[in-house]
């Protein structure tokens, strides 16, 4: 260490990189496998408009009057109906468990989360790379997760959505699931879905990233790109999935292909928080998607370069603001298509109700589900959901409303947006 100092310059970060090389692009790897990574609260929460949003009840409440007439008595928060239908599934409340990153954290807790989500009748998305990472039928494998989810699934509620990324397509994940005898009951009860992964919140524009040891790296070498994280001699390897190339036509065709090939499965599409997210959501719905899920830049339970966590992608509130108006399309009313789902730092009802007032139909639990299951493998998620339900019912009834679908933008005020006008997407065709 020399006496050199550079006041006002990010000296420590430079020194960190000087010591660790490419490994310093990520958070300290000591956290890998134990931490669930997303945008850092200290850099986000204090200026996140969705967290700063306030729900503003009116004084005059015509909807409460409607409920009063309906009940022939004054309504209470317990009269709020939280049940709804999202992405082709009936659900007891506007929640689903979003896909976890394919790091060891997600794999270890997946069965515990799945069992609890199933018992609650809350839909669950099984993330990409599960087949590549865990195989098909052992332990925390894809079919292991389906089995734990369905073990105590109540009749008529919930559903499982299996994600497929570009690499998973090579492993034919959807084909394997669709023709497996063990999923027949889910298919026959309309409770199997497939989610096309177009991108993700924590690292929009990139594919999945995981750190693996040398043994795992050798196993992945035939199907994925694996590089030593800091160059030759490093014992940690970075496994990179391709993000996949999408144009309007490719997205449109992939959705139609899903509908044609898997006519009995629900079609979900997961979009990254890109600048043309509203246009992509509209296209996905037009092509027949039952649900579009958008992961805000705050999302993530896997592994991402810090610069992506800090600087890349639209925050969730901006995604909701841009899509909310697109979403209010009367032509989809009464159909089973066109659900708008959001995730990204969701755990309590305040953020969720604000997002739903702005146009979302339900919210996804990612890190919150993992932490809850980690805290209490038997009831952690159930307890978290129980708190959410009470909070949501209190908030919605305070707004003078008694159904999820009655929430409207008038119920929420946002701080001034740093994004005054949506940036028009580049209309130039690729070919």
């Amino acid at each position: 260490m020399s006496a050199l100092h550079a006041p006002g310059f990010p000296e420590e970060a430079v020194r960190d990189r000087a010591r660790k090389g490419a490994r310093a692009v990520f958070l300290d790897e000591g956290a890998y496998g134990r931490a669930v990574i997303g945008a850092r609260a200290d850099t986000v929460s204090a200026r996140d408009p969705l967290d700063l949003a306030r729900l503003i009840p009116p004084v005059f409440m015509p909807r409460r009057l409607e409920k009063l007439i309906d009940l022939a008595g004054e309504p209470l928060h317990s009269d709020v109906d939280l049940s709804t239908r999202i992405g082709g599934f009936d659900v007891p409340c506007p929640l689903y468990v979003s896909a976890f990153g394919s790091t060891q954290v997600g794999a270890d807790l997946a069965l515990v989360v799945g069992a609890q989500a199933g018992a609650l009748g809350i839909p669950m998305v099984v993330g990409e790379n599960v087949v590549a990472g865990q195989g098909l039928r052992t332990g925390s494998s894809l079919f292991g997760r389906l089995a734990s989810y369905t073990a105590a699934l109540p009749e008529g509620l919930g559903g499982v959505v299996v994600q497929q990324s570009t690499e998973d397509a090579d492993a034919e994940v959807w084909n394997r699931v669709y023709s497996d005898p063990s999923v027949t009951p889910l298919l026959e009860s309309g409770r199997l879905g497939f989610e096309l992964k177009v991108g993700q919140g924590a690292k929009p524009g990139l594919g999945g990233l995981t750190l693996v040891d040398a043994h795992e790296a050798r196993r992945y070498a035939a199907t994925h790109q694996v590089d030593q994280a800091s160059g030759p001699g490093d014992d940690l390897w970075l496994r990179s999935s391709t993000p996949g190339t999408f144009t309007e036509e490719i997205l449109d065709q992939q959705i139609r292909f899903m509908r044609n090939n898997f006519p009995r499965a629900r079609v979900w599409v997961k979009l990254p928080p890109g600048r043309d997210v509203a246009e992509a959501a509209r296209m996905a719905w037009e092509a027949g998607a039952h649900a579009v899920t958008v992961d805000g830049a705050e999302g993530g339970s896997g592994w991402a370069p810090s610069v992506f966590l800090d600087r890349v992608g639209l925050p969730l509130h901006e995604c909701v603001r841009r899509i909310g108006s697109t979403h209010a399309d009367p032509s989809r009313a009464g159909t089973d298509r066109g659900t708008f789902l959001v995730s990204g730092r969701m755990w309590e009802a305040g953020r969720a109700v604000a997002a739903m007032a702005l146009g979302a139909d339900a919210v996804g639990l990612g890190r919150a589900a993992l932490i809850a299951a980690d805290e209490d493998p038997e009831n952690g998620l159930a307890n978290l959901v129980s708190a959410f339900r009470l909070e949501a019912a209190l908030l919605i009834s305070a707004l003078g409303k008694y159904a999820i679908g009655d929430l409207e933008p008038e119920d929420v005020t946002l701080p001034p947006s740093p994004w005054p006008t949506p940036i028009a997407s580049d209309p130039r065709p690729v070919f």
Partner: protein
């Protein structure tokens, strides 16, 4: 939504020895022999060369309708059993501009197909490809081939057909030719008129094929399927984006699809884009794309399901009855 048959209603093969010793199985195999004779005689007379198709390869036809491919360990490399040899057919055109296979294929079709009477795990296709041909030429070849098969069988072994309960008058309109062509859009509208709801963006479902096919007195073509309903090798109509220059030939009498064919996509960039539109990483198709980059001849062709033709000829209920060694999707058997 595809028609679903309750498990109890699925007709399954008896033990293999019993099946092989049934008089009907013997009659049908004798008819199969005549069909294969007629195919070879007819196609050879038109200048086609028969090749034997590959059984495995690094990739196979990704197909559609949710069929699963089967892996083979090729000395540590993941190979596939052929679901169809379409990619090989296209590349073979460089040496054999008119070619055909009697190709064995394996497809792990979705379980719901076990009861359609029209799906097998292992089956054979009469696979034809013609360099430089248009869709019209491929349609004509398919129609002529079917007529040649039916003529040969009805003239050569009418007693076998009679013993299976097939009245050869059933084919009298077919033998006159003149198969009508309906577009996919027409077919969707026709189906709506018959009270059957059909997604305009998807393949005609199995029940819909049965409904349509009952309305005709001879086979008929359905053309112009929407993009997304077929493999990436079907050529998109350059004048009508989203519409494929392809066709199916459907049998009359409720038997549904016998033949699927198209003009092929031979332009390298369009093939890469088509693979991507079906959700896959084009890198998987490395050897084929390398050939496409070097130049694959433009072509049109088709696959005719051998067992489907036999079922149509012999008036049998299920495809398993017209194969010596039947395997139904998901049904464990010999």
């Amino acid at each position: 939504m595809h028609a679903r048959v309750p498990a109890a209603a699925i007709s399954v093969p008896p033990p293999l020895g019993d099946h092989l010793s049934l008089p009907a199985t013997r009659d049908i195999m004798l008819i199969q022999q005549e069909v294969l004779f007629a195919v070879r005689e007819h196609l050879r007379s038109r200048g086609f060369v028969e090749l034997l198709s590959p059984l495995t390869g690094p990739v196979t036809d990704p197909g559609g309708r949710g069929a699963k491919q089967l892996d083979v360990d090729f000395y540590g490399h993941r190979y596939k059993l052929m679901t169809s040899a379409i990619l090989y057919k296209q590349v073979s055109l460089r040496g054999f501009p008119r070619l055909f296979y009697i190709a064995p294929n394996v497809r792990a079709e979705p379980l719901e197909t076990a009861g359609t009477g029209r799906h097998l795990f292992e089956f054979h296709q009469i696979d034809v490809e013609i360099a430089g041909a248009s869709r019209e030429e491929a349609k004509n070849e398919a129609a002529d081939l079917l007529i040649a098969i039916v003529r040969h069988v009805t003239e050569g072994v009418p007693d076998l057909l009679a013993s299976l309960g097939r009245d050869i008058d059933f084919f009298s309109a077919l033998l006159q030719g003149g198969f009508e062509t309906r577009t996919h859009t027409d077919a969707v509208a026709d189906l709506s008129g018959y009270g059957h709801s059909q997604d305009s963006g998807s393949e005609i479902d199995w029940e819909a094929e049965r409904v349509l096919s009952r309305k005709y007195d001879r086979p008929f073509f359905v053309t112009d399927y929407p993009k997304g309903s077929r493999g990436f090798y079907d050529r998109e109509d350059p004048d009508r984006p989203g519409v494929l220059r392809n066709f199916d030939l459907l049998a009359h009498g409720g038997y549904g699809e016998l033949v699927s064919g198209s003009e092929r996509q031979s332009d390298y960039a369009a093939i890469v884009k088509g693979i991507r539109e079906s959700g896959e990483n084009p890198a998987k198709y490395g050897w084929y794309l390398e050939e496409a980059r070097r130049g694959i001849p433009a072509s049109a062709g088709f696959g005719m399901g051998l067992q489907r033709v036999l079922r149509y000829l012999t008036r049998t209920e299920s495809l398993w009855q017209v194969t010596a060694y039947p395997k139904l999707p998901g049904v464990v058997s010999a």
